[in-house]
Symmetry: C2
Subunit: 306 residues, 2 copies
Amino acid sequence: MKRVFGIDVGGMSVKFAIVDETGTIIERWSVPTNLADAGSHIPDEMISSINEKLASSPEPIVAIGVGIPGPVNGEDAVRAVNLGWGNMPLGNILREGTGLPVALINDANAAAVGEVWMGGEGSVTGNSIFVTLGTGVGGGIIIDGKIVGGDHGCGGEIGHIPVVAPSERVCGCGNVNCLECYASATGIIKNANELAEKAGEERRFTKGEEIFEEVKQGGATATAARDMTVDYLARALAGIMATVDPSEVIVGGGLSGAGDLLMVPLAERLERYVFPPMRGCYTLRRAALGNEAGILGAAYQALQLV
Amino acid sequence: MKRVFGIDVGGMSVKFAIVDETGTIIERWSVPTNLADAGSHIPDEMISSINEKLASSPEPIVAIGVGIPGPVNGEDAVRAVNLGWGNMPLGNILREGTGLPVALINDANAAAVGEVWMGGEGSVTGNSIFVTLGTGVGGGIIIDGKIVGGDHGCGGEIGHIPVVAPSERVCGCGNVNCLECYASATGIIKNANELAEKAGEERRFTKGEEIFEEVKQGGATATAARDMTVDYLARALAGIMATVDPSEVIVGGGLSGAGDLLMVPLAERLERYVFPPMRGCYTLRRAALGNEAGILGAAYQALQLV
């Protein structure tokens, strides 16, 4: 059975795994991300770690898949700000350093592929939407079983879908009122504090968990903040659904940890906003894999090479 | 050189063409659409017309592509309301009746493929968005050179992206405030009449052309109506662009006949709303082909079979 490396390059650590065709993780390890000198040592340290494992592995490992925190253009990581990288020809460097074929993929896209693959039924087919609600909002779009990387490495950047809102929130990208200003873990806090201020309340929220704790108790401000997040998210997802007509919508990231408090109203709103012929024709579910999704998605991309 | 049939089934006529691999239309004809008996005679009449041409053609014609005014699921037209069709296994019927392989495609999707193919550089590669602004708003999404048909035949139904608006307009689909309620030929008239009423004006608009005539003269109400259409359209397109990251955005349909009066402000708004890394990385253009787009797109799909 074929084995590949699935790698997730993050700002804190580079996570490695050896993964087989069934999606089983045979072995995993990680090394701290070396951010010195604009991240320029990262590729060589990856090569060392890979070659060490190749030398000691009883079974051959035949390809490498790497998730990158930034846009990917073919064999190049284009701009991974958290690593200090400008254009980094990582695919070529890793291939020359290890002799293995290399697939690069954006990390949110890798998580999408991983979730559809191993969070689901063990195959990647048809059309799926994955959205991750963390500090920002990321995502991945899968069409006919393939991730949409985009013509400029920006496929699935659904956190930057513009929304219409009464307030003006400046997004990290520089635009005003992107989806992630309202539907991320930080967005829902902004919702809650804006509503608290309007209601003349003194207290301010600092964590998503506090908000969902209050939602559970029936708190009006927290519930309204949750509903605001759900409404923007449902409209955006309904828009994406009208565009690509998926069978599956998966919600991951920290905010999805709220479980039914998020997913039940989201399901209700999504059914309201979705193009009527699609009503009842798709599944909406929480991501199942957590941090492993990225490694598995990267491994899946590697398996497509061999 | 390979030749195929490109067919566009409309509510008034069925348009046929023989098209070669270079996209040249060798011959074209049409027959009135027979809507009697819930459109049940249409497939047989198509077969007669195809077989007649096959018998008389000096060159072999090797496949059939058909654009359908409704969703397509594999070999079936699922629900073509204007033809009276429920589920119609058209692919199978035409294949058995002619002996040729058959590709079915939704008509707006066919127009998208045709525009990218022959309205552009003669090839279908990469990612493109096509939007048609007619009575409604339709479209087609092309990813890696392939049309996104969708898991339920609803790919590219971008007229039904939900928008946030101060008024409530019920869409033909049953939802409230779909993009096409604001950005279609009928939507812009609603914009203008709503604004005229608010401004205490007596007159009402009945045609898009009147509105653009007044925009040319600097009329405030008409300009505001145009800007409303442009704003909703630009936000929706920017959202789709954040999702699929195309190189090309094409605008067709009756409203695109307004030319620069529509396209110049649209280009400006789109640059404002698009995810910043994509700024300047895509082309926005008017559709070039008019009614031929659908026939050519259907022919292109047929050519992929042989």
